[in-house]
Amino acid sequence: MHEPAGTDPHWRDGPWQKAGQRLTAHRPAAAGLTVLAALMLAVAAGLVAGGGPVGAALAAGHQSLSFALLAGLGGAALGLLWGGAAVALGERAERMMMTPAAALTGLPLALALPLAGGLLGPERGLAPMAVVAALIAAPAVAVIARDELRALLRREFLSAVQAAGIPNGRRLRRHILPNTVLPLAAAAWTALPRALMAESLASLLGLGLPEGVTGWGTAIGAAARAGDAVALAGPALLLALTLWALHGVGDGMRLAFTASTPGGRR
């Protein structure tokens, strides 16, 4: 027997709660969220307690994660703007804007960060490096955002809204924008692992974070060159765990929030 509407959890939960339930039902995403939360706490604890190889690895994580967050947010904003503008400006502009974005995703773009690090010299600041890392992450976000927006605009409920004669402004405000938030959040999330990987690679090569700022990549590069497996273990494990968690959450978000992913929400 069905419970009355309002008490059945299926009807009581709003779309955001349901999206959250779908995300946490995806096991790698739930594990990834747990790992990320634990890492944040551990990095904060490492900053307070400090000392020893574990404390040093956690402190290095603070630099890497801060940089990745800053660059990832910049890359996400830029990519969403790129993809959104391409869709909004019509088919011809979309082709012109998305062809280079798609071509860039097939290039080893992460190498632009060590190039920038080398050309800016040892006195390089964090801000220009973060801008370059954001530019590296943006094309992939733009491509995914465009695909998500296109998939959303093809959905039946929007045709029904149009057929009902609802004005464009209201259609955008009431139907399109609320439904783009979660798929675009999933698209934006991909900027975080990209920024972290680009920074770690550049720092590993000695061309990433400025001198005096030690990230996971810096510590891994130094340990690899010295052949010190013990010093390498902490930062390598933490970086691997973070990348795995970020990818797990990203995959979960794509499955739970998007309409374009095979097997994703319809």
Partner: protein, 235 residues
């Protein structure tokens, strides 16, 4: 097959020329020796190609096979995101420095294999209730099913994701070349040494060479994909 390869390669010639032109302009602006910079970058590319190509072929082929077989393949696909090539290169350089060539290849092949495993596994799961079920119904045995149906499906899916695998492998090759002592001396090492020295002309020329290599390998991958799966020829 040859005409397909030619068509795919010819389609990326403008991109390759654009990269060469951009590198030449930057090298010319950076200093007088721009022809030497381009020559050095071109001369270093075969060493990088010798590192990247076998790793990609081995990783994609083996990954597709493991993906359609399940079991260990699923584990490899599951841990794949945690092991980018540059991280594996650093771990191998710090722990097992005895065979740099083999370990360099392994560092590049494993991430490609992990991606291929994931894609091939999904392709097999998608075909389980259709093509594979029909083949089983017609009495096809497990071995024939694997080699004649599941593996081509898995390979096709893995080849579909080759473009990003190529970009990742070329990026990781730079780390392998720089962490493996004197084992390799290709465009990756040239790129990092020039960037460290602040030599914009040489660094950009080497980077353009690496990008060109990725574009060319991507085109060859698309041709191979079209050969394995006729549906991909339409793309």
């Amino acid at each position: 097959m040859l005409s397909l390869v030619l068509r795919r390669v010819l389609a990326v010639v403008p991109a390759l020329l654009g990269l060469a032109l951009a590198a030449a302009v930057v090298a010319a602006l950076a200093g007088p020796g721009w022809t030497q910079a381009l020559g050095a970058a071109l001369a270093a590319l075969p060493a990088t190609l010798a590192l990247v190509l076998p790793a990609l072929a081995l990783g994609t082929g083996l990954g597709a096979l493991l993906g359609v077989m399940g079991g260990a393949g699923a584990v490899l696909g599951w841990v794949g995101p945690a092991m980018p090539g540059f991280l594996l290169a650093a771990v191998f350089a710090a722990t097992l420095a005895k065979a740099p060539v083999l370990l360099g290849l392994a560092a590049l092949a494993l991430p490609a294999a992990a991606q291929a495993t994931t894609l091939a596994g999904r392709a097999r799961a998608g075909a389980e209730d259709t093509v594979l079920l029909a083949a089983r119904g017609r009495g096809m045995d497990g071995s024939a099913l694997l080699w004649r149906l599941a593996l081509p499906l898995g390979l096709s899916a893995a080849m579909g994701g080759l473009r990003s695998a190529v970009a990742g492998t070329v990026t990781a090759a730079v780390a392998v070349e720089n962490l493996s002592g004197t084992g390799f001396s290709g465009a990756g090492r040239l790129f990092v040494e020039a960037a460290r020295a602040g030599d914009a002309g040489m660094a950009v020329a080497a980077l353009a060479g690496l990008c060109g290599l990725a574009v060319l390998l991507g085109a060859l991958g698309r041709a191979l994909h079209g050969w394995i799966d006729p549906r991909a020829r339409m793309a």
